[in-house]
Amino acid sequence: MEILKWGILMFLVLPAPFLLGSIPTKYMGETKRTPAMAYVCGWFLSFAVFEVVAIPFILLKKSFTAVVIVYTGVIAVLLLYSLLFLKESIKIYANGFKRQIMTMPLLTKAGWLAVFAIIGAQMIYAVMYEYYDGDDAYYIAMAVNANVFDDMYLRDTYTGYSFQLDIRHALSPTPLYQAWLSRLSGIAPAAVAHTMLAPVWLMFMYCVYGQIADRLFNDEKKAYRPMFMILISVWMVFGNVSMYTAETFAMTRTWQGKGLLAGIVLPALLLCFLDIYEGNVSRGTWMMLVCVILSAVLATSISFMLIPTLVGLAAVLICVKNKNIKTGVSMLVCLIPCLVLGSLYLMMK
């Protein structure tokens, strides 16, 4: 029974995002249709859909079970849809992989092996060692409350007693996403967060950086990608220069919304900007940008300030430097969901 539960959880965090990601990547250029990009896009798609589904239920004070039913239904439909072009995606991934392996010098292959070994070691450490963070008393307890009492943000997490809607956190329901994983798998939220999401989201983070390496070092510079990845992983590990850094949050609180924003969502936003600035923006990239923006809101409420600033700056830059008003305006249009939720946050706070 335990094996089945962990098997379901593994499916939800490994193949499910990978399959979901083939939907946005289908609309990207062939060079960007890689398994890692599909995995990255899949996570952001699942976060974005969760944000859109969960928020109305939270604000209307409906049960958590209702969110579970609707969200699971939507994800199931998306998974089925992704299966329609699974064969085509796998063929493209396999061709790309073959091409890469055939042309890759031996030293680069060794470099990639070193990268995988470093990331693997970090993932094993995340499972084998525990780090106590006080904020889990809120976030994980919220997931436990949702599963036990079947309500959302309507309880004082520190006591369990009923309380008014906690609007400060309610629009960023990362704990509820984890409660959903817990409800479907039957694994306790603390185990979902600490034993499963801590290593898996580390891998997810390095997949994002891998895609950034792909954009920074293309064509004849490809050989430098593993070097960049090793440097990034060392930067992350030695980033604990204070308790406030993005690296500290990403490495020690990987499973919390703040860690998700600092370590994964903000680098992914930069990845979107790199793709947009490259020109000929595909539909897949726009889908990814909207999903990343919504994922930022799902992660933490500081996104209401940070994301419009960054996307706004990026849009102004493309208008001014590239004289590309259309793309700039499109970027601002992608911001609309964040602005709507931000306004709601300010009105209800």
Binding site: V144, N145, L231, V234, F238, F273, K321
Partner: protein
Amino acid sequence: MVETISAVFEDMILYNGKSFNIIIFLAALIFLWVTEKNKSIRMALVYLTTAAVVIFICPVYAGIGMKIDQQIYYRVFWALPMGMIVCYSAIKVIMRFKTMAGKAVVFCVMLALLAVNGKSVYTNTIHFRASNEYHLPPQIIDIAQALKLDKCKPVAVLPAELLTFFRQYTADVYTPYGRNLVEPTWSYFYYNDLYNAMEGDPEEYDAKKIAACAKKEHCTYVVLSCAKQLKGSMEEENYFLLDFVQGYYIYMDYDYFEYYKEQDLLDADVIEKEKAASEAARK
């Protein structure tokens, strides 16, 4: 305005710790301003980052941000891709070396610089070998199991060291207070007589005081650490010792015991344990 600017710089200094990260980042950014030729990379890494730095230290923006929540303004620095810019610049330096040996030496020097300048997240923070899949102290699980009732959700008061973890494991037991009273910076806003009775004296519990406050807070259970002395006796206050779990005494209020028994809300093992406790008391 001066206050806001100095608050931003204070945040930056705290963020940077004792490292040279911000200096290295600014040096790398200037290096990219001079050397980066690729248009899209220049836009995303150079112009956008520079614009973000200017905006984040701008007193108007920072003033608004700090008005919303001064405590967390430092988080805007997360949006500066410091690691990416430093590592990308490092690779650009490595690219300038023609021989493989030269590249390897510079790469190793870069790695060493990053390691010496930074602090490892694994050695600078406290990590323990995980003893369970929850990554929670094992006593939490045992105590939660002992307190849980199948047919109702009781209230239990716990020692401060358990509060941060307890509700991560279970919501089947209410607690009169939680981490909000334990955090030194937050407890300023809260006051609770029961918390004061439990934690006021670091050496000793006062049974009378704790029992009086626990009854006011409708606690079914009182959990006490064996590391502290007990002045008086919980039995005299109408409690019985339900269990002793991993260094913690679990006392149950007789009033609640009787009430739950009448309502048929008690688990069989609790009734057994009460019988054993009352027999031991008679002897």
